[in-house]
């Protein structure tokens, strides 16, 4: 009997750490399922349309969250995601306008192939990330401050770009990127690529090493400055991609887009098991974290509960996730002392 129990415990331990998060996701979904049958009289999960909308809504957050996850694993933080969405969306949209619209921002640059605005949006995010990363790596200022500065400046730049006016009348092949399953597909591809990068390449290994013990990484000969700049640039580029998708989905872009997206992205990473202390976390966990946010949002809508409650619950879940992480860390440190 005891042997059996031990086997169960050891086999449980061998499961990937994402399993716990998956159970939480399942649990929350089941709660809404049960509440749905009791109060609304219909199923929450067995509704294809609802599930599709749910995943669509969180895809943009998910793309940012992947970039933020690798930054947090490196014991950094990136607050600029939401503002970069707005800036990249506007820049991309300004190059995606069609020639039928006479008041285009760049009258000579209309009807361009869709790849031009896409790359411009990504490059815009990449450049902003490069600036944040360079500031953090070269001057040694806290990532919180550097990216907070970027959050404010990028939002300002987004408003300045077209004098605060929205950019619309975008080409069809550009806006197609935001329709149907495209945002979900882009998110899943990004998540898969970065899961592989973080798990199997030197890039990932060095990111974990810097987050775990920066001094150790430095004396091991890792070029910390260069690596940090690359990681923040990639996070910026992913926010840029998220901006492109947002503009394509909304078929227009304006400076107020992506407000607070950075907080949802950080939440998704933390709920997904990424440690704010650095060194620990996985993209797969973030994927589940993003889905948990999606289930909560769509569950509250489904239950016809006020959006205010939704934010309150979301806040509580984020704090809860950090408390769990904090205790896990403490336990590990105590274990060190024992031995």
């Amino acid at each position: 009997m005891i042997q059996k129990q031990k086997n169960f415990i050891s086999s449980y331990r061998k499961l990937p750490p994402e399993f716990n998060i998956f159970l939480v996701l399942l649990g929350i979904a089941l709660v809404f399922e049960i509440l749905g049958w009791i109060f609304i009289g219909q199923s929450f999960l067995l509704n294809k349309r609802r599930l599709v909308i749910m995943i669509l809504q969180v895809s943009v957050i998910g793309i940012i969250a992947v970039g933020v996850t690798q930054v947090i694993i490196m014991a950094g933080i990136d607050l600029s995601g939401g503002s970069l969405v707005a800036l990249s969306a506007i820049v991309a949209a300004s190059l995606a306008q069609n020639s039928t619209y006479t008041k285009a921002i760049y009258p000579h640059l209309t009807d361009l192939p869709f790849i031009v605005p896409v790359l411009a949006g990504i490059a815009c995010g990449l450049f902003a990330g490069f600036i944040s990363g360079s500031l953090i790596a070269r001057t040694g200022i806290p990532p919180f401050i550097a990216t907070l500065g970027m959050l404010v400046s990028a939002r300002g730049a987004a408003a300045w770009y077209n004098n605060g006016k929205p950019v619309s009348f975008l080409g069809d092949d550009f806006t197609a990127l935001g329709q149907g399953a495209w945002p979900v597909l882009i998110f899943l591809v990004v998540a898969a690529v970065f899961h592989i990068l973080m798990r199997y390449t030197r890039y990932g290994k060095h990111t974990y090493a810097i987050g775990s013990n920066e001094e150790a990484a430095r004396v091991a000969g890792i070029n910390i400055v260069r690596h940090k700049i690359i990681v923040y640039s990639i996070a910026g580029a992913l926010s840029g991609l998220a901006g492109v998708v947002t503009a394509a989905r909304a078929m227009s872009a304006q400076a107020g887009m992506g407000m607070m997206y950075e907080l949802d992205a950080i939440s998704a990473a933390v709920i997904g098991g990424t440690s704010l202390f650095g060194g620990r976390g996985r993209i797969a966990g973030t994927l589940f974290g993003v889905l948990i946010l999606g289930v909560i949002t769509s569950g509250f809508v489904f239950m016809r509960i006020d959006a205010y409650y939704q934010d309150m619950v979301k806040g509580a879940i984020i704090v809860g996730a950090v408390i769990v992480d904090h205790y896990r860390n403490k336990k590990m440190r105590n274990k060190d002392k024992d031995t």
Binding site: A209, S212, E215, N223
Partner: protein, 261 residues
């Protein structure tokens, strides 16, 4: 006089490091022959660790020259020193706690399938196998090397740190307080590793506060005091008293009852 016939592996001339107004290291002339094992001793703040940091490229000296393996070198980063063949084991162990043993042993010099810069795919299999070989050399048993460092004992961690430097074909190994945080058994293991390095002819610089260990392990002792080198004596021609008086600057050494002898 044996050492003078041998090749000089490391030599510093007038090595100086100032932190603002603090003269942490002043005008240090140091030589080390190939295959030689030496210890650096001194009180806290004597400049021992500062000296090591200049030689391993962790810091850039204020002035002075470093010759390594016959060449004038100018290390800008620890990576430069590593490339030249200097491996260091640091006091704080410098391990990434969230990574497993192979990742720590190969940190900064991972084995990869193709070289795609930072995006090279890691050859985990090869690193795993080589880690087992390297650890076998040190004689330390770690049941499962795929677990992360924060699940290991102090001795196991130290041995991983030492294996990392001893495992690669290095021309010089530097250890800062290799047994400071270890128990009796673990200290013995580390000393065994150091002796095997001696047999293999790998030169070693060791910082230690443990004079018994110093006398047992090395043939030459360099004494630092207040940022300067105040003496270099051969272990066979000295005793604890002389070393202590050099360390403290007091002519008459302390009695045999001193706890640190």
């Amino acid at each position: 006089m044996n050492s003078e016939e041998k090749k000089i592996i490391l030599k510093t001339e007038g090595l100086t490091k100032h932190y603002g107004g603090v003269k942490a290291l002043h005008d240090a002339d140091f030589t080390l022959a190939d295959g030689e094992h030496v210890a650096i001793v001194g009180d806290n703040g004597a400049g021992k660790s500062t000296f090591i940091r200049q030689v391993t490229g962790v810091e850039i000296p204020t002035s002075g020259k470093i010759y390594f393996d016959g060449n004038l070198v100018n290390f800008k980063t620890p990576a430069d020193a590593k490339k030249a063949g200097i491996e260091a084991v640091y006091q704080n162990l410098a391990l990434a706690d969230d990574l497993d043993v192979p990742s720590n042993i190969f940190l900064g010099q991972e084995e990869t399938y193709f070289n795609l810069g930072p995006f090279s795919f890691l050859n985990e299999n090869k690193m795993f196998k080589q880690s087992i070989d390297v650890l076998a050399k040190t004689g330390i048993k770690i049941p499962d090397i795929k677990i992360t460092m924060n699940n290991m004992s102090g001795g196991q961690r130290q041995c991983v740190a030492i294996s990392r430097s001893a495992g690669f074909a290095s021309k010089l190994i530097i250890m800062d307080e290799p047994t400071a945080a270890l128990g009796v058994q673990e200290t013995k293991q580390v000393e065994k590793i150091i002796r095997s390095l001696k047999e293999n002819g790998v030169p070693l610089i060791m910082i230690s506060h443990n004079l018994r260990q110093v006398f047992n392990l090395v043939e030459k002792i360099w004494v630092f005091r207040q940022g300067q080198i105040v003496g270099c004596v051969e272990t066979s021609k000295t005793d604890g008293n002389e070393i202590v008086s050099l360390i403290t600057g007091v002519k008459q050494g302390v009695g045999e009852e001193a706890s640190f002898i």
